[in-house]
Amino acid sequence: MKNNYLYSVTDKALFDGLNQHKITTNHTVDMFLKRGVLVSKNTPKKNLAKSFCRYHHDYYDHQNIAEVLGMTPRKEKTTSSFIKTSSDSDDFWDAANELKTSIINNNDQCNIYMDSDDIIVDITYSSLHYEKSEFNQIVKKNAKIEIIKSEDSFIIRRPDNEQFEGYVDDIISSLVAPKSDTEKSDINLFSISDSKLRSKFFIQFVEGVQNYKLRNVSDVFVYNPDCQFSAEEIMNSDDDDVPEIRKVSLKGKSVLDSQELKSLFDRGFYIWKIRWSLEEDLADPDIFEFEAQFSDMINFTGFSYISKGYWKYKGNGEYNKNKSQLDQDKNSHFLTLFEKSALEIMKSIHTEYEGVVEDESCEE
C-alpha cells in the first residue's frame, strides 16, 4: 500500500472491540436500537457482541466504537484566520489547487471541493502502529482547511498545528492579489499584558455564546507571567525544583466562581485555557462541552477551540452517560459562533485597554 489508510475491520475485530470493558451494555443496547432491535440488558455482553458483529457495519459504526475505546486519534483544536484581500473565491480556488499539487507530490492525498460557497481542502495522511490491536493499527489523520467567504473578508479554519499553518500561508502567498492588498489577522491579545483583561477575554467568551447558556466551567488553567524565568525556559521547563508556581490548573464545578481562582487572579495569574459546557436556551437542552486556549500562553497568541462532545438528552430528565461527537454541521455552527464572539470580545478588550493606557498617561 502506497499510503497507509484506515481500513475496514473484520467481524472478529468488531466482536473483540465490543467485548472490551469500555463498551458498556448500554452502548451495545443502543447500537441494537439504532438497527430497530430491542434486546435484554440481561443478555451476556459476549452474546450481544457476537450477534451484532453479524451485521454489516459502516464507517460511522467503526468511528463510534473506536471513539468509545479511545482509539481515534486525538482531534486537534481548530484555529481561524481572517483574511482581508482584493482576491475573490476563484483566486482562493486556484491557490488551493497549487497547494494540492505540492501535497500530492509529497505522496499525501488532497482533494478540493466546494461545499455551498465554501472551499474545502481535504488532506489525508496516516500513520501505522502494528503493535496495537486491529481496531487501532492505522491512525487516520484527515484534516480540512475551510475557506469561508464572510461579509467583508475570508475566514480560513484549520487544525492548530505547524504543518497546516504552513499550508494556509502557502495558499495566501499564492493568491494573485498583490501582497499589500492582503491582510491576515487572527484572535490574539499579544499587545495586552494586563492579566485581568486576558482573563476577562475567557470569562466573556464562555458566557457570551448566542442562544446558549453557560452551564459549567469545569477546568481553568492559569499562568503567572510575573516570574523571573524567560519565556523559553517556561515553555520548555519541566523541572520540579523551580521554586515559583507559574502554572496552576483547577478542576471542579463552577471553577470561575471559586475563591481559589479569585486569589490566583489577585496574585497576577490569568486564564490561558478553559473547559466549559453550554446548554441550549430551551427546555430539556442537550449539553455541549468545549475547550479553548491560547497555545502560546505567554504571548497570548494561537487561539484555538475544540468540541469535547455533547450529552444527549435522553428523556425523563436523564442524559446519556456517554458523550456523543458533534456532527460536521453542528461543529461548524459552533465554530461560526465562536469566531464571531471572539472577534467582538477581542475588539472590546482592545478598546478597554486603550482607555486604560490613555487614563494612565493622563495621570502621568
Binding site: 459502516d58 482533494n111 471541493y113 442537550d286 428523556g315
Partner: protein
C-alpha cells in the same frame, strides 16, 4: 368461505408485496391466540379467564450465518399522526416480549408454526406501518425523543421496563424500513423490466461473505435477506446473467452477472465510501472483474454523491497503488457504478390495526 379479518388481509399483503423479494416465508395460521405458559407472571391481576398471547402471523427464513431457522412471532400494528404515543408502544412491545417468552415454551405454538424442529430461534417482530401515510416519525425518537421547538421533550419508552428475557430479541420494522424495502422491490422490478436483472427468483440471492467468526453454510445462490441484513447500512445481492431466449430458442445475454448493492446511508463523506470499498474488497467482491452496481436508497443522500464516491474511489486506488487513467471514467475502469434511486411509493395500506 369465511371472510378474512383485517389482520389476515394485511399479513397477506405484507407477505406478497414486501417479503417475497427478500425470500421470507409465511407459515401457519394467522390471527391466533395461544396459551400463556407463565400465567402467574403474565396474567393481569383482575383477569378471570385463562391468559393467552396473540400471534398475528409468523414469518420465517433460514439464516445462512447461524445455520438455523428464525421464526418471527409478528405483531401487526398501524398508526397515524395522532394515535401513537409512548404508552401504546411500550404496552405493544411489552406484550410481544411476553409472547415470545411463552412461544418458546409453548407446544401449541410450536406445533402450529415450527417446520424445522432441530435448529431454530423464535424472535418477536413488531411490524408497524403508517395507514395515513402522513407521519414521518422515526421510531428511534420514541426511545430518544428529539428536542421540540418549545416546551419539554416527550417521555421516552424505557427498554428496561419491557421485560424482554435474556437472549431474546424483538425487531421493529417501521415505516422507514418498509419504505426502504419497497424501494428495493420497485427498483428490482424496473431493472428486470429493462433486462438488467434476472427475472427468475433462483437467479439471485442475498450475499453473505465468509467472515472470520461467521461462515455462510449455504452454497446455493438463493439465500434470503436476514433482518440483520435489511437493517444494516447496506445489503449485497448476488445475481446471475440476464438471459432471454428468442422464438428459435437462441440465447440472448443482456446483462452480466455481478453484485447489486443497496446502500442506505447518506454518502456525506469520502471516508464513508472508502470504508465501503475496503469492506467490499475484503469480501472479495470489489476486484475490478466483478460487475458492481451501488444503488443509493437513502432519501437524505447528498446531491453530489457521485462526486463524493469518485473522490473516495480515487483515494482508494491511490492508496493501494491501483493504476487508472485520469482522463477516462474511473468507475468504468474499476467496473463499479453508483446511482441514487428515488424512494419508491409508500406501503399503501389503509387498513387500520389498533394498538388496543
Amino acid at each position: 368461505m369465511a371472510e378474512n379479518g383485517p389482520i389476515e388481509d394485511v399479513a397477506k399483503k405484507i407477505s406478497d408485496e414486501l417479503f417475497t423479494r427478500f425470500k421470507w416465508r409465511r407459515n401457519g395460521p394467522m390471527d391466533q391466540d395461544f396459551l400463556c405458559e407463565k400465567q402467574e407472571q403474565h396474567k393481569p391481576a383482575k383477569k378471570m379467564q385463562i391468559h393467552t398471547h396473540p400471534t398475528d402471523v409468523v414469518f420465517y427464513y433460514k439464516d445462512p450465518y447461524l445455520n438455523k431457522t428464525i421464526y418471527f412471532n409478528t405483531d401487526l400494528k398501524s398508526y397515524n399522526k395522532s394515535n401513537i404515543n409512548r404508552t401504546k408502544i411500550e404496552a405493544g412491545l411489552s406484550s410481544l416480549a411476553k409472547s415470545i417468552a411463552c412461544a418458546k415454551r409453548s407446544p401449541d405454538w410450536q406445533e402450529k408454526y415450527i417446520i424445522d424442529n432441530n435448529n431454530y430461534e423464535i424472535r418477536g417482530l413488531l411490524f408497524v406501518y403508517n395507514h395515513d401515510n402522513e407521519s414521518t416519525k422515526d421510531f428511534y425518537e420514541f426511545f430518544y425523543p428529539p428536542k421540540p421547538q418549545s416546551g419539554r421533550r416527550a417521555s421516552a419508552v424505557k427498554v428496561d421496563r419491557l421485560g424482554i428475557e435474556k437472549n431474546d430479541q424483538i425487531h421493529i420494522i417501521e415505516p422507514k424500513v418498509i419504505d426502504y424495502m419497497i424501494t428495493i422491490n420497485t427498483d428490482i422490478e424496473h431493472l428486470i423490466a429493462s433486462k438488467k436483472f434476472p427475472d427468475d427468483d433462483d437467479d439471485y440471492g442475498f450475499h453473505y461473505p465468509q467472515l472470520t467468526l461467521h461462515k455462510s453454510s449455504e452454497k446455493h445462490l438463493n439465500k434470503p435477506a436476514t433482518i440483520e441484513l435489511i437493517t444494516s447500512p447496506y445489503l449485497i445481492i448476488k445475481h446471475n446473467e440476464t438471459i432471454t431466449y428468442n422464438k428459435n430458442g437462441d440465447e440472448q445475454k443482456h446483462y452480466d452477472k455481478g453484485f447489486l448493492i443497496y446502500y442506505n446511508r447518506e454518502g456525506k463523506e469520502d471516508m464513508e465510501f472508502l470504508y465501503l470499498l475496503d469492506a467490499l474488497s475484503n469480501f472479495q467482491i470489489f476486484d475490478g472483474d466483478n460487475k458492481i452496481r451501488i444503488r443509493v436508497t437513502n432519501r437524505n443522500n447528498v446531491p453530489a454523491i457521485k462526486s463524493v464516491f469518485i473522490r473516495a474511489l480515487k483515494n482508494y486506488a491511490n492508496a493501494w497503488g491501483l493504476a487508472y487513467d485520469e482522463d477516462k471514467d474511473i468507475m468504468k475502469q474499476f467496473n463499479i457504478e453508483i446511482n441514487s434511486i428515488n424512494t419508491a411509493k409508500k406501503f399503501v395500506c389503509t387498513q387500520e390495526i389498533t394498538w388496543d
